[in-house]
């Protein structure tokens, strides 16, 4: 199965012998640990408005997903069809390349304030549900 334009050619023997558990880590060059520490809901966003050249298909798609709005690691993983851990390695590389940044929340919210904001948001949502 040929990859999208620009992707390295897939070695067929490799693809058939290596099942889905190996393939994601071929994308990461065999690495299983990301350089940058992130969690399932860590948000990422594209660093620049323009396209980033020379990326593999998974990386390019990841940057696109983070262009409109900050996107969490879990959602990127789901949309790329990659396991979370492999996704983190891909995203970490993109941070190192300057293509993505981790979008952290601003300072200020402590635990109780966060819960109050959550309650208020849910109540508002409830009032809008028919």
């Amino acid at each position: 199965m040929p990859g999208p334009a620009g992707a390295p050619e897939w070695d067929e023997a490799w693809e058939t012998c290596a099942d889905e558990q190996v393939r994601p880590y071929a994308i990461t060059g065999g690495r299983t640990r990301p350089q940058h520490s992130m969690r399932l809901v860590t948000l990422l966003e594209a660093a620049e408005a323009g396209p980033v050249h020379g990326l593999g298909p998974e990386s390019a798609r990841a940057v696109e997903l983070c262009r409109e709005r900050p996107c969490p690691v879990a959602e990127i993983a789901a949309r790329l069809g990659l396991p979370v851990q492999a996704t983190k390695v891909v995203l970490s590389d993109l941070i190192d390349r300057g293509a993505l940044v981790m979008a952290l929340p601003g300072p200020g919210a402590d635990h109780l304030q966060l819960l109050e904001a959550l309650r208020s948001g849910l109540e508002t949502r409830l009032s809008h549900v028919a």
């Binding site: 558990q21 399932l40 966003e45 879990a74 390349r97 940044v101 929340p105 635990h111 904001a117």
Partner: protein, 212 residues
Amino acid sequence: MSPDRPVTTETGQRNSAPFPVKTIVSGGFGVGKTTMIGAVSEIDPLTTEEQLTVVSAGIDSLAGVEDKTTTTVAMDFGRLTLSDDLILYLFGTPGQDRYWFTWDDLTYGAVGAVVLIDTRRLPDSFGPVGYFEQRGIPFVVAINEFADAPHHYTTAEVRDALDIPGHVPVVRCDARDTRSSITVLLALVDHALTHPTPPEQPHQPIAQGAST
């Protein structure tokens, strides 16, 4: 922040994003976790897969040597944008209770959990209830009212059967219904507010020195 400088912990970050709040929806297999996530989420529930190394239980002498298998577990999740500053993410726990260590990453920093219950299969709920109790994660028990359930147990009966502590709310819900599911989440938030258990873990464990 210049991209050509060496990467430090400060580079590659931006500090004006919404706060991602994580909530867990747990319960036995087929109890309606994904249904509830879908009822609340503004997107169709997504599935994230993670491959985990599972060491066979009870064969400690081989742990770390050879007796490992890789298993793929799936986690469903959804998203609800509550304001410019706040996004709620709902994560469903994998249906199999032997992958507890998956749950630890999944539940890290969660504000709380909903344990969904099917009264026809109460024993499926022991694991999740015990897990959140032990971890000190605020949780509510929500009885998903299946129309074909032979008998509607009272909340007191369910509390008794599962040995749920008195301060933990037990509510009824219809996981298919948005209002009902949001009401369950409100019960969870109220419970977390009135029984504060300061999280040992930050909500967002990355570079959160400023908020601790």
